[in-house]
Symmetry: C2
Subunit: 450 residues, 2 copies
């Protein structure tokens, strides 16, 4: 019997919140991005709310104009290991870059957290957005690689990592004290990967975990990004302002699964939202405005500049039509950048509108309202198949997470849209994903063993 | 007033123990190398014994002939993060390779654990010993780099990592909600490192921890290894069979500190020992023999082969004089390899003696006996300045750690040679090391700020 489709929820954990100036809010802990106890507390609240997973974003360089929380933060893999110690059920996803990592190290670190957490790890695969080129300069490279080059490398990188994760069959280790046999040599497999970017022999020096392999998460929405997701991702995180556009993207992305022999329910599309709830709609809007009023328009333009490739906004006033801005060609989040330029034209945006219109946790939309209104909006997007679930980028933490768990989750539960409790222990179980077969077991004849 | 010199103790934590066949012992947990609760328990016992630090070794490839515990183990950085969650005081040192890592990632991960543990992290710097060349093949390289090349790169690597660790002055972050100023821009510093191997701009996206920087640990005993240690290490882990040789090495290494303006008490030399205690000397020897009898002589030769560069021992009998063996030129732990060849000649060893004579936790020495005998031997080495402390590679875990903490530590404490309790909270405090000055603060004028 097929289970009823249920909403998947991910909590985006970032210091004092996703809103650019959340740290200035009277209720915020501005040190939260580097306070492991504060971050563990957030994961515990999300677990109390039965969230599928907690999600940790990343950057590999600082950007003076960006969200202050990216200046001083933990390495995501180290952080989710610390979160694992403070939680029992919730999935834990960390961002790591295929452009700036080694697959053997990455495979091993994620496998390690996956064991330590009892099968709760997820890897958010990124190729790194680096509009200003700062990341490359931290990695002894002259410049950030081009978009297509990054995606080609990412395709190989994921194949190597997943191949290494299958190095040991589940019953390889026997620990026979009497005979002295620690493992079955025929149940350990060399990958012998020979690609253009990587040549990796293996085996990895760690076994598979309870969930087989960490869950693969992605956010790329460009054409190569969609293809990579359709082939390898199990969760995709995306964002569209408009429900109709979201539905189209949802269908387009899910229709690409067939080519890779994959089923639609093995692939969850999460829509990014930034809900704020109030007892009345007016109270929610007041809370929204309270955060918005902390944003200095010139400070926010520096953020936009860093994100869009070092635009020199000093040449323009806040009233200048944004279509007149000379945006440099950026080697960054391509699909999103093109979408923004389209909207700038369509909506005739001014320079002073750019931050509010485009950047996280700053838009006034249907997810700001009473608990019932927010639940209605969530149900609407979910039922319309604009999303299988939501990546919730809470504007102010822990407040907005706490209030969402207390007031919105119970409504979704009453409506039968969200779990009352965890049914399993692993991230795959929460997401209704199968433990992947070990490629060396299922296609044994095709691979050499030793 | 100078504090009385005290013994430093490090607990080498490895699955069921350092002895090659410890996993076959009736009391062992053969799964321990991949059992986070078992490893956390070991760290807790070491902390009960007031050890300065727990130490995690590493390898980046499996070797079928080696210690079974290297087949299936955690990434060390991830592991010490999990150990931090289960302990409060003990230092936590993880091995990571300068040959197979990126300095920005490594700096960040160690800084992250250092914050999360409250200033208890140490980095055991290795250039990776890889006599069989398997590691290179896991990292898209054709072969393992030559010894001198590895050490040149290590010199630069450490400079980059330590430079990145100083990116933020301790009072850089002010979090002024009123003015909107998150940090002082003049208190964050770009490294702008331009070396032969690395070009790294910085700054790192994480601040310094309570202890300023993680502690640097090394084990290289070759000429370039000694030089690197004298310049950068704060703890050195070494091993000599003979107390006179150990004293000579101790003096030789410490005498190199002057060149780098360093003091002898900023630099601790730990001697590797594998103690087994019994109520009587006979009982200790019986426990030692019990482990030795589990070693199959041919199996142990495969271990020797893997360690010494794929020697084909099938051409020899156990009685063949070892000097007749054709050892290949190895690109591995060079100083140790040369020392072994010298001893093979001097002691006229046979092939069947090699494992027992050279490899960890298998030698019958003065550290096997009653608690008083073991404490006497420790005091002798310490007082003679053959060592400042000991890296204790317990043959069988948790048994030998537990017994050492219960029976030997109290004797050392009674003699005033070892702390009764932790005086501080950080690894630097345990080791009597100063918080390093931030290079950008102390020499402000010499560096550009932005």
């Amino acid at each position: 019997m097929a289970r009823k489709r249920q909403i998947k929820l991910a909590a985006y954990l970032i210091g004092s919140g996703m809103h650019f100036t959340s740290w200035r809010h009277p209720q915020s802990n501005p040190v939260a991005s580097i306070d492991v106890k504060a971050l563990q507390k957030l994961a515990q609240i999300a677990e109390k709310g039965k969230f599928d997973l907690a999600f940790i974003a990343d950057s590999l360089a600082i950007n003076h104009e960006s969200h202050p929380h990216i200046l001083n933060r933990f390495d995501p893999v180290v952080l989710i290991t610390a979160l694992a110690a403070a939680t029992e059920k919730i999935g834990l996803a960390a961002t790591a870059s295929t452009t700036y990592s080694e697959p053997y190290v990455l495979a091993r670190q994620f496998a390690s957290v996956d064991h330590i957490s009892g099968g709760r790890a997820g890897w958010n695969v990124v190729t790194t957005a680096d509009a200003t080129g700062e990341t490359a300069l931290n990695f002894s490279r002259e410049k950030h690689w081009e978009h297509d080059h990054r995606y080609e490398r990412a395709e190989e990188f994921i194949d190597v990592v997943q191949g290494l994760w299958d190095s040991w069959e589940d019953d390889a280790f026997i620990y026979d004290k009497e005979s002295g046999q620690f493992y079955h040599p025929e149940k350990v497999h060399e990958l012998r990967y020979e690609g253009e970017y990587f040549q990796v022999k293996g085996p990895l020096n760690i076994a598979r975990s309870r969930q087989g392999q960490p869950v693969i998460i992605q956010a790329g929405a460009s054409v190569p990004g969609q293809r990579l997701a359709a082939r390898t991702a199990e969760v995709v995180f995306t964002h569209w302002d408009d429900i109709e556009e979201a539905k189209q993207f949802y269908q387009k992305l899910k229709s690409q699964l067939k080519e890779f022999d994959r089923e639609e329910d093995e692939f969850h599309i999460l829509h990014g939202i930034s809900p704020i709830v109030g007892e009345t709609e007016e109270e929610a809007v007041r809370k929204y405005n309270e955060l918005q009023q902390l944003v200095d328009p010139y400070e926010s333009l520096r953020f936009v500049s860093g994100y869009m490739g070092n635009v020199d906004f000093s040449k323009y006033t806040l009233d200048t039509p944004a279509r007149k801005v000379e945006f440099p060609k950026v080697n960054s989040i391509q699909s999103q950048f093109n979408e923004m330029k389209k909207i700038i034209d369509q909506e005739n945006l001014k320079v002073g509108d750019l931050y509010t219109r485009f950047f996280g946790a700053a838009k006034r939309d249907g997810f700001i309202g009473t608990p019932v209104q927010v639940a209605d909006e969530i149900e609407k997007w979910f039922t319309a198949k604009a999303a299988d679930g939501f990546m919730i980028q809470f504007p102010l933490l822990p407040r907005d997470l706490d209030e969402f768990v207390t007031h919105v989750v119970p409504i979704l539960q009453e409506r039968g849209l969200f779990r009352l409790d965890y049914e399993g222990d692993t991230l795959r179980e929460h997401l209704g994903l199968q433990v992947p077969e070990n490629r060396f077991v299922s296609k044994e004849k095709q691979f050499s063993t030793f």
